[in-house]
Amino acid sequence: MSYWEFLGEYGIRFVSGAIVTAEQTVPASALAIGIPVVFGLMRLSRSFVIRSAAIAYIEFFRGTSLLVQLYWIFFVLPLFGLTLEKFAAGFIAVGMNLGAYGAEVVRGAIRSVPHGQTEAAIALNLSPATRMRRIILPQALLIMLPPWGNLLIELLKGTALVSLISVADLMFAARQVNGSTFLSAQAFGTALIVYYVMARLVVTPAMRATERVMASRLGRT
């Protein structure tokens, strides 16, 4: 069977798998963007309790593996009376894991905004909330966008693990096709190429465009 015949017969499975991967990536990214903003700010809080809570979250999720977290959320959380459907368990695990890495990016970016900006905001009598929202965060956002691009690619790659709790994503499709045809090079090779295309032709250009928009909105072009 030539590769084109292979694609003709099984291509549709890869397409539907890729759609599920995208459906996992979008809510996981939303989590992995929301969580870091909250925990990154908590990490910089003056209150010991809030700061410790953020550190505990970050160190816990960065200190263990995504796969362990995924299994724990899927198999152990139900014992606490919290049963998640596999699709939700998948993107929640991926989002919370990458969120912990993102929180450190947010913290680093906020701290790298020059201190004069904070002083100027205080001198202008802006409230702490306004200072953060209007002065510090927009500038920090520009600094954190490039590392975010890498994190989102990590996130896309991380979603491949949800196939192990039988979410029918791209990886799952590749394993199924491999199982029924034994054409491993074609099955896994196709999936590798689709992941590469998603990372390089979707995620990376989207991040570059966001960087450009943000830079021009801050008048830094």
């Binding site: 263990t64 995504l66 198999f75 014992l79 790659k157 979603t159 192990l164 999936a191 992941y195």
Partner: protein
């Protein structure tokens, strides 16, 4: 509801600890491969031959942007298709070693690029050979900025070893899955696996920070 059984936890702990040794060995072997192959990837991107540079560059990009777990399957299933049978360990080490080699080559590249051009020019002016230029002048300056990245990926490879369980490498996650399916007790098993990972990766990260600080002092780069 929640019923944590200590007797069960202690019963399976020895098996988990033994599997932890396998996990550490997998991480160590994989990292060893990655250190060497990463250097090849990094140096291949610095040659005069455009084609070699382009191939190395694209390979690194490709490996970096695709999921490790898929690469593990790929290596494990594709080689037998061409008549080469690989044990789970061999396939796993090739896959994880190559994946991290692509990360480490970026770290090396960053380190090499952080050495000012003038250092290279001075070496040329002093008529130092390639080997002496690299070992005496460039690497000692490129290493300290590369160390944090190298340390992060050492902890990173350790945390990615559970993916090897998908092809049956008997590391921590694989053992935990086996215990889970024998006893149907996931609470103690997966919780202890998580704790074992924390217990190793947090001190390891702290140790690496201390090591970086020591190297920076030893090379006279700070304070």
């Amino acid at each position: 509801m929640l019923d944590w059984r200590w007797d069960f936890a202690f019963e399976v702990l020895p098996r988990l600890l033994l599997a932890t040794l396998n996990t550490l060995m997998a991480a160590g072997l994989g990292y060893g491969i990655a250190l060497v192959v990463g250097l090849v990837f990094a140096l291949a991107q610095r040659t005069r031959y455009r084609l070699v540079t382009a191939i190395a560059r694209e390979s690194v990009e490709f490996i970096r942007s695709t999921p490790l777990v898929l690469q593990i399957f790929f290596v494990f299933y594709v080689f037998p298709q061409f008549g080469i049978r690989l044990s789970p360990w061999t396939a796993g080490m090739i896959a994880i070693g190559l994946h991290y080699a692509s990360y480490l080559s970026e770290v090396y590249r960053g380190g090499l690029e952080s050495v000012p051009r003038g250092q290279w020019e001075a070496c040329t002016a002093l008529n130092l050979g390639t080997a002496r230029t690299y070992f005496r002048i460039i690497v000692p300056q490129a290493l300290p900025p590369a160390l944090p990245g190298m340390g992060n990926y050492l902890v990173g490879i350790f945390k990615d070893t559970p993916m090897l369980s998908v092809i049956g490498v008997a590391e921590l996650m694989h053992t935990a899955n086996a215990i889970g399916s024998e006893s149907y007790r996931f609470l103690e098993t997966y919780t202890m696996v998580g704790l074992l990972f924390l217990l190793i990766s947090l001190p390891a990260a702290a140790g690496l920070r201390a090591f970086e600080a020591w190297v920076r002092r030893a090379f006279g780069l700070s304070r």
